[in-house]
Symmetry: D2
Subunit: 438 residues, 4 copies
């Protein structure tokens, strides 16, 4: 007897339960009712009495909606399930005249949109959390065209951030003994360095690799975010050898470095709920415990904004760009440039320097210009090394001009780097990188 | 290799992690710092950078506090980590002049106490949720003497209600194959009908019994609430035979009734976070699925407020009490009255009638006077039968005058009963009980 | 922390153990010793004292041997670790003169080769059973050229048959949630209808399929034998649609038939140790329990000896073969014949009739001529239907002339069919098949 | 859903299977048939065809037998299912005239009693192994009065020794997280130092204790043998403090010694199938790995034959016993002697010396006189220390005169001690003990 079969049974239990709890009222098949009626019922006293049956009806009804119906559903939530401005004014007034515990509670209650209660009740349904995450995914797609839905999104973010608190996440190692269904998801979610198939996946789970993911107990089979690690001698500078099937497998006890070469978020519905920071640090701890021989923890990361920045440079007259640099930038549009050793050789120095400039430049609020850099610098990592021709895949060339960066996670300086970055916009970088700009 | 040993290892991992992430700063042993300093650090950017290490320090620091220190800690939270009235006023003003998404968000942000963020971060620590629940337990003890702490409690309730949403709870059956450590807790938490020892426990987990509990993934070894069920032929009216060790074990396939004879909340820190409603309904579904022969689902419950109500009756001149009733009430103070068949025989009718009166009477808002009645009526159960000498234990006699009540959970009428009770204060009762009052 | 890591730890424990138990004797690294010396040590009192350490040395030493060394090892076992004829004679004599318990015990002891004790001790090593199974695999390869090794094989068969008793086997369902490492083995072991890759595998594990395997607790990750089942409406007659990726997935509750379309033995070292009989019957029981809607249990099987038998027919002058039949047989050698509808149409009747003749004919001892038929008939199945162009793969055409057979497992007649076949060589066949020969 | 419920389901599956496989033959309810008929059927071709259904019938039939029926059953097995002497003679003759593989195989086959095949088939039934072990338990009770049954016992021993090979056993740690049902068995099986109840058990599973047991996969819930270990500073000399509830719990990382203070065999049906040797050595390895601080591994063991030996001394005129010794021996019969410090003080030296003499004396074949000593010496342990008043329980006083012994398991000398004992009957003893006899 298998877990999957057990699940069937449990589902049947839930079905039976719904039937059982309604033996008396077969006429009222709630999930044929309008979303509005269902939501009203769920928020009413009936919703409380029904256990989780009504919540399940709403979840089922949502899943059965088409695109237009979903848009209408969210618009209804935005229009009808927000807080009441009059009540907010009144409660605000009461608090102003008598600030204190009771008046503050009343103001809080007035401000909380009924939508939140609705979402909390939907979450009680079997697979309720998965439904909520799916709702947010749909909502994010509608948002750009429909600004009033931001209010609904704010409520979902509020709840999801609370529910996906780090304390509830489980770290699991993923390897070749993991369920095939899970591995299939890992392949599908890998977008940093896409996998061609199972053989590549198996190589990435071999003895000199590690893969860790966060899971949430209410989404047991769904990874939230995962990181792929290569155990190497020295800090890897080129990603292709790490990806290819075949190649020798290093005895992990001989490695001195753990290279985090891909981090992928898996759930579109959880965008903006942050786990990456915790994942990397937890994996550093796990690996340091398992393999005391590891001395260096670093990423091998793309610079996804580099080419776009170069293009903007190009157009802005007032930026100081040398002739060498201009030439190198122009060369980038020649297909196959990286395969011509001589040409590439001439491009190396100016492009590496431009890359250092890009990575050390900061925008408003002292934030790095590159999204990947922002993530790692905020986590307290240090910009360690720029690797020429580190990723010569089509994507690597078109986004990062074929370059890759190592960000170093040195436990001794993480807090200091983080504070420097957040408070002063100071980018932690190795002397080697700073030297490039001189 | 055992789970417990694994736990040790994982703890060591966490310790190693803390050390690892601080190799550079051995001087600053944070958990020697003051609670205030720690809380400030945890809310600061350092708190973000440290992963979960600082959160753990705060949790450790809290656990090391004595009673006075805890009181000081909570007072600090109440005084220093509440919202800023000036900011609330300003944001309220801004919202009033331009009600909309942004101004509402700002008002929400102004209202949310920094305490909540602090608790969310503490929750990230290993065993963080257990720490938060323990904090609430301590706080509830301090509350009666220290009203300002209500504000802190409100924040904890807000977070715990969100985190212990039904969707995150796991139902587990508890039986004689369960870990001894868990069973020991069940014995300790059983307060409705206390157990003398392991033999009694084993009887309560025999083939004609069921025990189910809710668990939360972040408190894996701690039951939150559990219910004890006896499978019987006909609705049991007396509890002592269900508790005694020995006695025949009924083949569960021959039972027609499931009697819920004890429901216990386990976590003092979760008082007011409600699960009982869900537990009973889920267990009804589970049992109906496992044993299709079951036709009746009912409780066998105490009437803990009965004797106190009788005492109050006694003193209130203006209540109509018959001579018979007065005599019966007076007899209750004679020790051993229930063992004198003739005496008890005379008391039966007046006391049963008084009990019906007590249970059908409602207080302000149409709520039942008895706490157990309130719970089951609100859940949609029906007052079904009053059982004379249903519980002749010392506790049963002193609180419930030896009577017990069956509340009937009939899936066909649960929603209707619930609505009737909540909206109109109408108490659902069997004709048999109503007849007692004629 | 993962199972695989736990295994590492446990291995380290065993290593540590070996070291620990030998702290005093670092000089004597036993696995540098000769196989003979190791075997002697293992059978000696030292072997008893060492716990499992010496057994592990022998297992390690064996695994490190090359082909020639293995041959020498087995020859040594054949020559030096057999029973002593003189002792057998003496014990036989003693038993003859005084037959009884003691003399029989002594005769038994004299007959049992010391090899058996040696194998039993090797089995005590970590992964000892896997070593024994690997030894048998190697031995079977050597056997054809080295008849004296039959005696060693007989001992291994004796032990393995005892250790792999049905009572020790575990049935496990295999599905898409199974570990990838296990699924990879399933793909590798599938030889009846080879799989092209993971997509095909996933289809064979979809909702309207079932796959079950036997495992042995001491070979936890190694399937011994597995069966692939398709849930269908009506008894499937063609295998290709069952194998192709894609295609609709039937709701299993709408199926009325379970078709066993592939059975594979996995362990070359367990050839001749029979589980297939038990597997099919157990799976019938499992499926009948899970899906009460299933009414028919049948195989869809190749006829691997058919073409060879046709070829032999061809050459034997004295067999009655009609002109039609001769023509059809000749056509089989034309590549692509099955794609020419008209040609194939003409071949259908004579080849189907020849197939029925082949399957109903019996050889010495009343045994069927076809190995797959022998297996299913011995199990009590009935020859139910011959399916024209049931398998048009290259293998299907070259072995079975493109035909497939359904063997029916009808619980009501299994025992009777089996007895008929074993005792009288009677082949159970459907009237439809018998009719073909009239 | 729980394991226990899963078991019910699986049982139902087996029942359904039996019914299913017999739909056609409801008249023949095999388990109403005579044991003889059932055994014949099981050995026949029907037995092969029926999968495991007939085996289950035999097992069920056996379990339903009363004492007399069991005796008759075993007598039948002894009389009717033994080997055929005529066939043995013939096969012996054939082997004598042409010794070789085939003739040896035939002789082996002739010697093997059909009972063995019968037991192997019964083992295929659900819970077949448990049935076989129960049969042996019953048989051992009948054996003393019924010598012909020895032949049946020899077959069971042969099979059980093969099936309970060390390679199939699983070591599990038992602690307070173990299932209550298992712990209840541990309490019941503990006979060396009986436990008064759950509180004592919990103390014996506290942080400074370890308990390990061997299990067999086919008897998953039944411990075969278990050992209780106390982690101490220095080698414990008195057992009572280890048994009492309460007392401080030592931090295991501060212990330097592991004291094996109780080893219990659990299965009466496996008497004579030896695991103790492996258990102790495996536990030494486990503990050495978990707690590198442990330096000494020793038992704290009773001397169960000591008082009986003293009594025999007493009566044998020709043994040299000093006056002191005679007095001390006589004093032993005075109740409470050990509580009189002065009296006990005088007895100490002569009794300790007598004990050393008893333990160093050897009987025929150089074997120790004491059964516990035989076990540990054979395992390679060394007689390390005699502890005065080490066990003052009633049992300790009446069997061991209140003395206890430490046997030391020193990995460096285990093999040497074992060989010395087995080959030459040399008892390994510490200089301290040898000195007592000077």
């Amino acid at each position: 007897m298998r877990a999957s079969r057990l699940n069937q049974v449990l589902h049947s239990v839930a079905d039976a339960g719904r039937e059982l709890l309604r033996r008396g009222a077969p006429a009222a098949r709630p999930h044929r009712q309008s979303p509005h009626t269902l939501c009203e019922a769920l928020l009413s006293t009936r919703g409380e009495a029904s256990g989780t049956a009504l919540a399940r009806d709403v979840a089922d009804a949502y899943r059965a909606m088409n695109h237009a119906e979903k848009r209408a559903f969210f618009s209804m939530l935005a229009a009808d399930y927000g807080p009441d401005p009059t009540a907010i004014h009144a409660a605000g007034e009461a608090y102003r005249s008598a600030p204190g515990f009771e008046t503050l509670m009343e103001l809080s209650a007035a401000i909380e949109p009924p939508r939140q209660k609705l979402f909390r009740r939907i979450n009680m349904a079997p697979e309720g959390t998965a439904t909520i995450v799916a709702m947010r995914k749909d909502l994010l797609e509608l948002l750009p065209d429909d600004p009033p839905l931001r209010a609904v999104d704010a409520d979902l973010v509020h709840l999801l951030a609370s529910w996906f608190n780090r304390g509830f996440l489980r770290l699991r190692q993923i390897d070749w003994e993991s369920p095939a269904a899970l591995l299939q998801k890992i392949m599908a979610y890998e977008s940093v360095h896409a996998m061609a198939g199972w053989d590549e996946l198996r190589r990435r789970l071999a003895g000199d690799r590690r893969c860790f993911a966060f899971f949430h107990p209410a989404l047991a089979d769904e990874p939230l975010i995962f990181v792929e690690v290569a155990l190497t001698r020295g800090m890897a500078s080129v990603v292709q050898p790490l990806l290819a099937d075949g190649g020798d497998v290093l005895d992990p006890r001989e490695a001195d470095t753990a290279v985090f070469y891909a981090i992928n978020n898996c759930q579109a519905g959880l965008v903006g709920i942050s786990f990456g920071n915790f994942l990397i640090k937890q994996v550093v701890v796990e690996l340091a415990y398992e393999l005391p021989n590891l001395k260096t923890f670093a990423t091998l990361s793309p610079i996804p904004g580099f080419r776009a920045w170069l293009a903007s440079l190009d157009k802005s007259a007032n930026t100081a760009v040398s002739t060498n640099e201009t030439e190198a930038m122009e060369r980038l549009s020649t297909p196959g440039w990286h395969r011509d050793e001589e040409v590439a050789g001439r491009m190396r120095e100016p492009l590496t320097r431009l890359c250092a400039r890009y990575l050390l430049e900061t925008g408003p609020g002292g934030r790095s210009l590159d999204p990947v850099a922002r993530f790692h610098l905020r986590n307290g990592a240090r910009l360690e090394r720029i690797n020429w021709l580190g990723d010569v895949s089509a994507k690597g060339l078109s986004e990062s001009a074929g370059l890759l960066v190592n960000y170093l996670y040195d436990p001794r300086t993480i807090e200091r780097n983080h504070e420097g970055y957040v408070k002063e916009g100071g980018i932690a970088a190795s002397p080697e990188i700073r030297r490039l700009l001189r």
